[in-house]
């Protein structure tokens, strides 16, 4: 894990002191809300429906037990004992008091955390594969690059007044587990014919009002040129990106209006004309950052396979959890464990302070202290010995964290919606809760499936990328839900298409159930929902849905 150096510590401490003074002046009436709002937003503090909301940055979703314990402590002391993990691998606290926020930021700084750049027209948290560093299908650990991007983009003077927020994702595995193509800029780590590491650079993705997937603008950028090339991308965006209309300001609109080819040419010209050496990424610097992410010293004594198999055979629930919640590790003695924050009927992504403490303890005991937050709103223990899995599962079960549903229909991505978010046009959590309760019994028969729900067109719940996506909208004061079909987030990323008129809230679960029945009836061997949808089209789904609706 990257550790702050003196510069980082000083920078974050100074920021807390500046912010403390800003809050003091606001509470004393010396700053108006218009003056104060940009200052609080720069420190991750939003004003939501019921309270202030603090969005705490978890850079590329990687943190550790000490940070988790601090988060548990903060949620207990300053909030209501729970937090919400987001689709940007961050944590949101929903019940924060303005007057407490300087102390909270100081507490975060004590464990090398902050809430900077979790808002505003800045670079947001660079996201990556939650299995980074340990995934068996990885070319190289993407975290050092995510860290290099974090350092490069934090308060970058040339890019601190972008037309809009800017999001980057990095993936280094054959399977894209970071939804790279929905990002302003996406990076796939690649090896060229000579075995050198570089990046396929994609640009122009994003969800929201105009959902678009990114395009490859350069198939291979050498590692050394990564930052100079990204600076060229940003310069073209800074120069041509629209600032007159918030809905047209993201880079996706620029790439769409210029065309990906023309945009790529503009970037190339800018890049060739720039001082590439000034922003070159030297190998020794990459090595230095990468050393912070070295794998821990694993215990390589062989796993007792017979005992492992016996436990799994005697406990079908454990066997199911193994199948769904563990993933192949680089070390054959270890597994990557995903802890579901989607117990059926609960709020997706919520985690109590007690659960945070337990995960911190388990991370210390079983995973070298390391924890990850996944964009699917779950947590990951990246290095668990396989002979410790049975014990781990039992402890997770006892704490309500043992749900075996990763990648299943009840593993729903869901934004806070109108229960918390002041931008929402409808609720999303109760829809997710009801759907999960209803679908749990069919989960095994359905297999891999994802439902994604957003409470407004901003699409924090990634609804466009759900096999089934649900968007809550307001229709004359009533919540109704638009259903999209065929979305996909990974290697085969696709934006779903709206199937027809929106459903009333009490018709959503039944409607989705009908769609699932059509899928189960018509799918061919091994077909996932988007495959079936692409093969047979919308018609059978539409006919069934609107016959009952």
């Amino acid at each position: 894990m990257y550790r702050y150096d003196d510069f980082d510590h000083r920078f974050v401490d100074e920021r807390v002191a500046q912010y403390r003074d800003q809050v003091r002046r606001r509470l004393a009436g010396q700053l108006t809300e218009d003056e104060f709002k940009p200052l609080r937003l720069m420190n991750g503090l939003y004003l939501q429906m019921h309270a202030y909301m603090l969005r705490i940055a978890i850079p590329y979703g990687a943190f550790d037990s000490a940070k988790m314990r601090k988060l548990a402590h903060i949620t207990r002391k300053y909030d209501r004992g729970y937090g919400h993990f987001t689709t940007r691998q961050n944590l949101q606290l929903n019940w924060i008091k303005l007057e407490d926020t300087p102390d909270i930021l100081a507490e975060l700084a004590s464990v090398e955390m902050h809430a900077i750049q979790t808002s505003g027209n800045s670079f947001r948290n660079t996201t990556t594969d939650p299995f980074a560093g340990v995934a068996h299908d990885e070319i190289e650990d993407p975290r050092p690059y995510a860290e290099i991007l974090r350092q490069w983009s934090t308060l970058h003077p040339e890019f601190s007044f972008l037309p809009r927020k800017f999001k980057i994702a990095v993936s280094a595995s054959t399977e894209d587990r970071a939804a790279v193509k929905m990002h302003d800029v996406g990076l796939y780590l690649r090896r060229n014919d000579k075995g050198e590491v570089g990046f396929e650079v994609m640009a122009g993705g994003g969800l929201g009002r105009t959902p678009l997937l990114s395009h490859t603008i350069k198939p291979f950028v050498a590692r050394r040129d990564l930052l100079s090339y990204l600076e060229a991308v940003l310069r073209v965006y800074n120069q041509y990106g629209r600032r007159d209309n918030i809905y047209k300001a993201r880079i996706k609109i620029l790439v769409q209006s210029l065309g990906a080819k023309k945009f790529a040419e503009e970037v190339e010209a800018e890049w060739l004309a720039s001082d590439r050496e000034a922003a070159a990424l030297p190998d020794n610097y990459v090595r230095e950052i990468a050393s912070a992410f070295a794998l821990p010293a694993y215990d390589n004594t062989p796993v007792d396979e017979a005992a492992f198999k016996r436990d799994a055979a005697a406990n079908p629930a454990f066997a199911r959890w193994l199948r769904r919640n563990t993933f192949g590790h680089k070390s054959s003695n270890h597994a990557v464990v995903t802890i579901s924050l989607k117990p059926v009927g609960e709020t997706p992504g919520d985690c109590s302070a007690d659960q945070m403490d337990l995960v911190a303890d388990l991370a210390d005991e079983l995973s070298f202290g390391e924890i990850r937050a996944a964009y699917e709103q779950n947590l990951v223990l990246p290095h668990v010995r396989r002979d410790a899995l049975f014990g781990l599962w039992k402890r997770l079960e006892a704490a309500g964290l043992g749900t075996a549903n990763i990648g299943q229909i009840t593993d729903i991505i869901c934004c806070p919606g109108m229960d918390y978010c002041s931008l929402a046009t409808a609720r999303s959590i109760p829809i997710a809760q009801d759907l999960a309760r209803h679908m749990a019994a069919k989960e095994e028969a359905i297999g891999t499936f994802n439902i994604k729900i957003s409470g407004c067109i901003n699409a924090c719940g990634h609804h466009h990328l759900g096999h089934i996506g649900i968007l809550g909208v307001d229709k004359n004061g009533e919540e109704v839900y638009q259903i999209t079909l065929g979305g996909d987030a990974g290697n085969n990323a696709a934006v779903g298409t709206i199937i027809g008129p929106a459903l009333k809230s009490d018709a959503v679960t039944g409607g989705i159930d009908t769609l699932i029945d059509v899928y189960l009836k018509l799918r061919q061997d091994g077909e996932r929902f988007p495959d079936t949808y692409r093969r047979i089209g919308a018609k059978p789904f539409k006919e069934a849905l609107y016959a009952v609706a």
Binding site: L47, D79, G345, D350, S352, Q355, M418
Partner: protein
């Protein structure tokens, strides 16, 4: 009918304008006026030395029903009554109100 609501500056709690420079977290305490008087009520709510107690003050529609004030919009009902998601069954929520 309409009333003025905003979020309390120091902690963000939804509050309602009672009149005479006073605000309350209870919507039932709000001053509810006819539509024609609403703009004047909003103006009065914004008087006083800074900082004003409420941030983002707006007028919302509401009705009086069985002695209680009920906002018309779902959003405002959720603001007044809290999230509709039910308690988390797997956690011990600590009410900030108890602090």
């Amino acid at each position: 009918m309409q009333l003025v609501t905003g979020n309390r500056l120091r902690d963000g709690v939804p509050i309602y304008f009672v009149g005479n420079g006073q605000w309350s977290p209870s919507i039932d305490a709000a001053q509810l006026v006819e539509d024609a008087e609403a703009d004047a009520l909003l103006a009065v709510s914004q008087e006083g030395a800074p900082p004003l107690p409420a941030v983002g003050s707006v007028l919302i529609e509401a009705v009086r029903e069985n002695g209680h004030i009920k906002p018309i919009s779902l959003r405002e009902r959720i603001r007044a009554e809290g999230p509709t998601t039910g308690p988390m069954t797997h956690q011990t929520a600590i009410e900030t109100a108890a602090r």
